[in-house]
């Protein structure tokens, strides 16, 4: 996630929410689409094995512009298969490279980048104050045009202290950092840390739509973003688990470590012609 260090402003969020509500109220029911699988990782393999390097790279380092507290590594301790068909990204409380936590941030940059389609992942999230897992897309032209001009599609973000709520957002020029186009979704009578749930966007030239377990909870059209629409070029996928940071606040005494984010699969589909 790339954000500036400005803390999110509740009033701005509220205004954005009202705006989005108004936008959504005029949306029609989503059309049934035919999808063709074009990329996937099911994370099958023996426990402790690192994820397939042909599919995933690692961002190694810290902060990432969000004041995240963890040092992200490519060690199996922080990201490896669990032997039961899942990727486990594990946030640990340990002293490492001057930081007090470690975790991992995996991405498909230069390995798989595409424009439009359905991006989905089936995941069980961690819990506790300060946990910030995310499944998101970033414009592949970021190194040329910078952020937020490259565009960012957050398929799922979550705060460990709000275990029944996730958020879907767009960051682009004029609506980034603390002021994105965003909407949240509350899981009725359940939590995201006690079982697997499917998080997805369906992205086309006309709309981006967000889903949790096939429930659509946000639709955004080009005319509805308060700035330029920067979602007509290739994006890559990022899956990470941050500890602390502007979005979520630091862990506290009751945060239990280690914390694990399990990913059953990540899949990308194209609309059938």
């Amino acid at each position: 996630m790339i954000r500036n260090k400005i803390l999110r402003n509740k009033i701005v969020l509220m205004i954005a929410a009202i705006f989005l509500l108004a936008a959504c109220s005029s949306s029609s029911e989503p059309d049934e689409m035919e999808w063709e699988l074009v990329w996937e990782d099911n994370f099958d393999g023996p426990a402790g094995q690192s994820p397939d390097p042909a599919k995933w790279g690692f961002d190694i380092g810290t902060d990432w512009g969000n004041a995240q507290l963890e040092y992200d590594t490519d060690r199996p301790e922080n990201a490896s298969l669990d032997g039961q068909g899942n990727l486990a990204i594990v946030a640990r409380a340990e002293s490492f490279q001057g930081r007090n936590y470690t975790s991992a941030r995996m991405l498909t940059k230069d390995l798989f980048e595409t424009t439009y389609g359905r991006f989905e992942a089936r995941m069980q999230l961690p819990w506790g104050q300060g946990m910030w897992p995310a499944f998101w897309l970033l414009g592949a032209n970021i190194d040329d045009v910078g952020w937020p001009d490259c565009g960012e599609i957050d398929i799922m973000e979550y705060r460990g202290q709000e275990p029944s709520k996730i958020h879907g957002s767009l960051h682009g020029p004029g609506y980034s950092g603390g002021n994105p186009v965003t909407r949240s979704y509350d899981l009725p009578n359940a939590r995201f840390d006690t079982g697997f749930h499917v998080f997805a966007v369906e992205w086309s030239a006309e709309t981006i739509r967000w889903f949790v377990n096939d429930t659509i909870y946000q639709t955004v059209r080009p005319a509805e973003v308060p700035g330029e629409w920067v979602y007509d070029h290739p994006f890559f996928i990022i899956v990470n688990l941050a500890v602390g940071g502007n979005y979520v606040g630091p862990p506290n005494a009751s945060t239990v470590f280690p914390q694990t984010m399990l990913v059953d699969y990540v899949r990308v589909y194209k609309a059938a012609q």
Partner: protein, 996 residues
Amino acid sequence: MTVKNLLRLINALLIALVIGFVGCERELDMLEPAAFPTTGDVFIDGFSGGLDYQAFSNTKLDAITIDPDEKFSGESSMRITVPSEGDPSGFFSGGALVAPGGRNLSGYDALTFWARASIGAPLGLVGFGNDNSGASLYPAARTDIVLTTTWQKYVIPIPDAAKLTAEKGMFQFSVGAFEGAGFNVWFDEIQFERLGTIAQPRAIVTSPAITGEVGETISAGVTGVIYDVNGSDVTVLAAPAYFTFGSSDESVATIDAQGNVVGVGVGTAEITVRLGAAIVANNISVNVVPAAPRPTTTAPTPTADPADVISMFSNAYNNVLIDTWDTGWEFSTADVQDILVSGDDVKKYTNLNFVGIEFASQTINASEMTHFHLDIWTPDPTAAAAFKVLLVDFGANNVFDGGDDSSHELTFTSPQLTTENWISLDIPLSNFTGLVNRANLAQLVLSGDLSTVYVDNVYFYEGEVTGGGEPAEAAPTPTVDPADVISLFSNAYTNVTVDTWSAEWDNADVADVQVFGNDTKLYTNMVFAGVEFTSQTVDATAMTHFHMDVWTPDPTALPATFKVKLVDFGADGAFDGGDDVEHELTFDASTNPALATGSWVGIDVPLSDFVGLTTRANMAQMILSSDPGSVYVDNVYFYTGDGNTPTEPTEAAPAPTEAAADVISLFSNAYTNVTVDTWSAEWDDADVADVQVVGDDTKLYTNLVFAGVEFTSQTIDVTGMTHFSMDIWTPSSTAPPASFRLKLVDFGPDGAFDGGDDTEHEITLDETTIPAISSGSWISIDIPLTDFVNLTTREHMAQMIISSELSTIYVDNVYFYNSNMATEPGEAAPTPTLPAADVISLFSNAYTNVTVDTWSAEWDNADVADVQVVGDDTKLYTSMVFAGIEFTSQTIDATAMTHFHMNVWTPDPSALPAVFKVKLVDFGADGAFDGGDDAEHELTFDANSTPALVTGQWITFDIPLADFTGLVTRGHLAQIVIVADPGPNTVYIDNVLLHQ
């Protein structure tokens, strides 16, 4: 340990679980699974079908009420009345809602409810799984939820709902006074729910690293579960039966169903705790060391009556909250482990040099206790060893080192100490001579030469003091001026002749002793003692009070009493001449003053309390009757108080002036009175007598706590009346917290008590109200019936209930009347006649008004409305304490003006202490608030000022601005502040202007 003790509080009989469990299993195996209802409702608008409310033993039995007036939703809530400290009806409120047939709760994950309290206060314990049978398997509860005064929802996760397929305990609570004060708790919408937002259980483990010996049983201390509820941790205490325990190496240690670890062989093992399938603790390490000498029998079971005990640690009693059994103070090397000796919980200290045991968060009041007890066992040599016990009291301020701490350490040695035996230390608290207070005990410190000490049965109790303690200090030296005293016995005064301190006919022995150099009378074997001064009787007519100091080492808990009788031989000066009078007062642990053990009790009472002692010119005897057999007595004297407070009225209450036609009188010589059935109902707590005050019939209440006046046989219709009036006079001190409370009760259309339509309202008067109560003068209480807000019907008035801390009250002229008095002005304020050119008007129909920003600023405490009085615009202030009138946006230049003018009308009482203050504020040259050059001045008006505050008339204030002496500049007038505290609170205002 803390949590463990609390769990004991939930259910003292968890110990019986194993037996109960086996029995249950066998039965269930043979039975078809019963179809238990899955109903989740517990209390919605009433108890869910079939639920019984059962109060816990030793609690206030009538604590629970269905309250239709206060609810979160629906028709009613469940109100819990929490008694204040010392309430005879119970020490705390607690009970269970029980479903006798059982319910299947396995489909739920939480008990939820809404609650609020009348004050912010902790809810001691609330939960479920306790069916009050003493054999509940699955008690679970949250403790010390701090309730607020607003409704909030609370969630109690069910540790493992799969266990609750036939649960009877639907709800349980236990709550005691907060800082001594009682309060109300309201519960609503109590129900089991499946929230889906409860997850991540973690066991509470008090001993994450256990060290024990081969053959020793050690408690793992698994007392509950912490859940994440929607992102926040919630702690639930849970009985062992919810958990499954396992050991990684049973050749080293095993663990039983209660969570008790038994050392099997030397080595280490790990304990795993499961809740259902979930592992909730897997890192409890057990280190088993070779067996050493240790107690093989339990400590002697305590025999003191639980009612006389405050227990810190014992399986024989419910234990109070102990913060820690090892404070871990610097330089302390001690370790503590909870172990079991033949099933009895014991504290095992090792490496003991000294250890702090702290209970500061809820200090112990052992004022009523006589002894401190603990049992110890040591394997160490004791011939040359010492063991020390230190008790620390934090004093009235309840703060460590707050300047009033007291403490004392006692040392025990051989032969009292022996090796490998249970030693019962049973210590009179009076031996802790430096512990001058014991109402706020907060620490126990154990130290000495014994490195390993097993400790059990740590408690305070009230028992017989043998050998008779004696006062650790002399009685307080009296301070009353000798000129105002007639002393029978005191080193501080010259004493009159007393013939005997123990008459022949009495049943007591008396000795002259010295207590720290002070002469004192010591009564022993006392049943009753006759003190006689018949040869020279005492004329106490000029005296107002009787005083004596007493000290006893004996138990003073109820029903023990100490009685003082004074006898006057009457004008004939001789016993039994037909004119003797006497009166006896009784003191016990609940009276004021309260009888107490081991401390000087000052009995200091108005002679008027000796109601039957109607003459005092020939006082000849004092008879003391006592349950305590040993009593020290000192400083026995009569005195006259400050001389300002008479003990009885010297004039009659003021005669009422209302026309008889406008009056319904209950009691007055000025009117014909209606029938009053009783002036002191059987159920009340007061004595009443008919007396005359300067020829005027008056009711005299004595020993008043509350008095019921009933006129139920012929209820009274006061719908045509507007006011209630009565006169009272008291010799008692009206200093706070004393108050006088008056309740009127209407039985409603059915004319019968409690038919569901009764209405009532109580008015409280104190030194700050209108009228204010005060000692030694007649107070006229004159209250609009509309002030009795909740008395919504007045057609069948049937009761008046007086309650007060004022124990003696004269009452006269009790009546309802119709004032025919307007509650609003009947005419407009007088129209000002000044030429407009000389006037700057803020508010008047007679002039053009300048801009006023607000007539009731945000920061004020008043409501204002625009009303018309006979066509004239008027401002009506209500609920006024102070009102801010602001014209800051366009300040007023009043330099050319000479007067401030305003018309005021109030329906409220205008007698003192009612005041009406007017403040004018100028913002100075900078025209801004608080710029350093503001000027202001406040003038106060009352019933005696000019103009005088009066009720029901337009008052014209026309005040020279020069009177506002502090208002040194007037070029930027910006605010008027009106203060009316304590009243009048309803005020009409008109024609607010400045003029020259």
